[in-house]
């Protein structure tokens, strides 16, 4: 953000509030210093959880045989996750036991991501590393458990570290790479992908609106009003784009978790 702040300073010494990474490390508000300290993101996360549980809980409690419009949408989502993510990747027989997990992942990530563009919350509940990390660790644990149950640990490691049909000198490079992949890269790529997407999305949207405010209100030079309009439209588009990204990231996270778990089973 240095580059942007440099531009801001060069335009006017005024108060161009550049969004910074500090927004993802907000100060503790309640219970400071205890393991139960609350900050802004955690409060957003709690609100999102309550809303998610209430929304889906009421829908489920009132679920009727003949669905209404809202229930139809929820059912479509459930069936989409079940059929298009889990069953398509794993097949029906194997996938059955993972449907609740993948559904939980998808729904939670989706709703938490959407918090980033909901006015008043304005930051994704997944915008600290912890939440994506926990999701990823869950998927990580599941695929190791699946490996031990499905192939047996030895067979799984052999399949992953020493893939067949490779000349042996390659193994010198391949084995550490594959080990790194299954132990570190898989969970951390899941984490980083979700987290970095949320950060970049938030910064983009915030940057656009901050620039709008600067150009329209704070800037001394009124010649920039046109630019302000442009940044406003850009912010609007970015907001829509964030909604899309929220869904896509949830989908990718769920699909990749399913793929990793599936890799732990014999073909």
């Amino acid at each position: 953000m240095i580059g942007v702040s440099g531009v801001g300073i060069s335009l006017a010494a005024g108060s161009f509030q550049v969004p910074s990474v500090d927004e993802f490390m907000p100060p503790e508000i309640l219970f400071q210093g205890t393991p139960f300290a609350l900050n802004r993101i955690i409060i957003v996360r709690l609100i999102a959880t309550v809303v998610l549980l209430l929304m889906l809980g009421i829908t489920a409690a009132r679920a009727k045989l003949i669905p209404g419009r809202w229930q139809g949408a929820i059912e479509w989502l459930i069936e989409f996750i079940r059929d298009n993510i889990v069953y398509q990747v794993m097949g029906e027989l194997r996938g059955k036991q993972y449907v609740p997990m993948i559904t939980t992942l998808f729904m939670t990530i989706f709703v938490f991501n959407l918090c980033g563009i909901i006015p008043g919350l304005n930051i994704a509940a997944t915008a600290t590393i912890t939440m994506p990390l926990l999701f990823a660790l869950w998927a990580f644990a599941q695929y190791w458990v699946a490996a031990v149950k499905g192939k047996g640990l030895g067979k799984f490691l052999k399949d992953e570290l020493l893939p067949a049909g490779v000349p042996w000198p390659i193994y010198i490079i391949l084995v550490p790479m594959q080990l790194l992949d299954i132990v570190l890269i898989r969970p951390f790529s899941l984490t980083i992908r979700l987290f970095a997407n949320m950060i970049s999305g938030h910064i983009l949207v915030a940057l656009c609106f901050a620039a709008t405010q600067f150009f329209l209100i704070d800037a001394a030079n009124k010649a920039f009003i046109g630019l302000g309009a442009v940044t406003f439209v850009a912010g609007f588009v970015m907001t829509l784009f964030e909604a899309f990204v929220a869904a896509i990231q949830a989908f990718i996270f769920a699909t990749l978790s399913a793929v990793y778990i599936n890799l732990s089973y014999p073909e």
């Binding site: 580059g3 398509q88 990747v89 980083i192 992908r193 970095a196 970049s200 989908f251 990749l256």
Partner: protein, 76 residues
Amino acid sequence: MDLITLAEVSGNLSTIGYGLAAIGPGIGIGIVFGKAIESTARQPELGGRIQTLMWLGFGLIEILALLGFIAFFIMK
């Protein structure tokens, strides 16, 4: 500012680093989507499967750009 300094660029080299890091994934994502469109046009009945694979590939490539992105934060 010295008299010898004729022009000054302020900022962080990480920004340029991120820009460079985004080139590869940009090309990669272009290829992924282009190929997905191509294969869907050739085999429309496999569209669903291709789309899933497309998003998977997209996710794997995206992580490269995002690594550049976090490197930017870490190194500054």
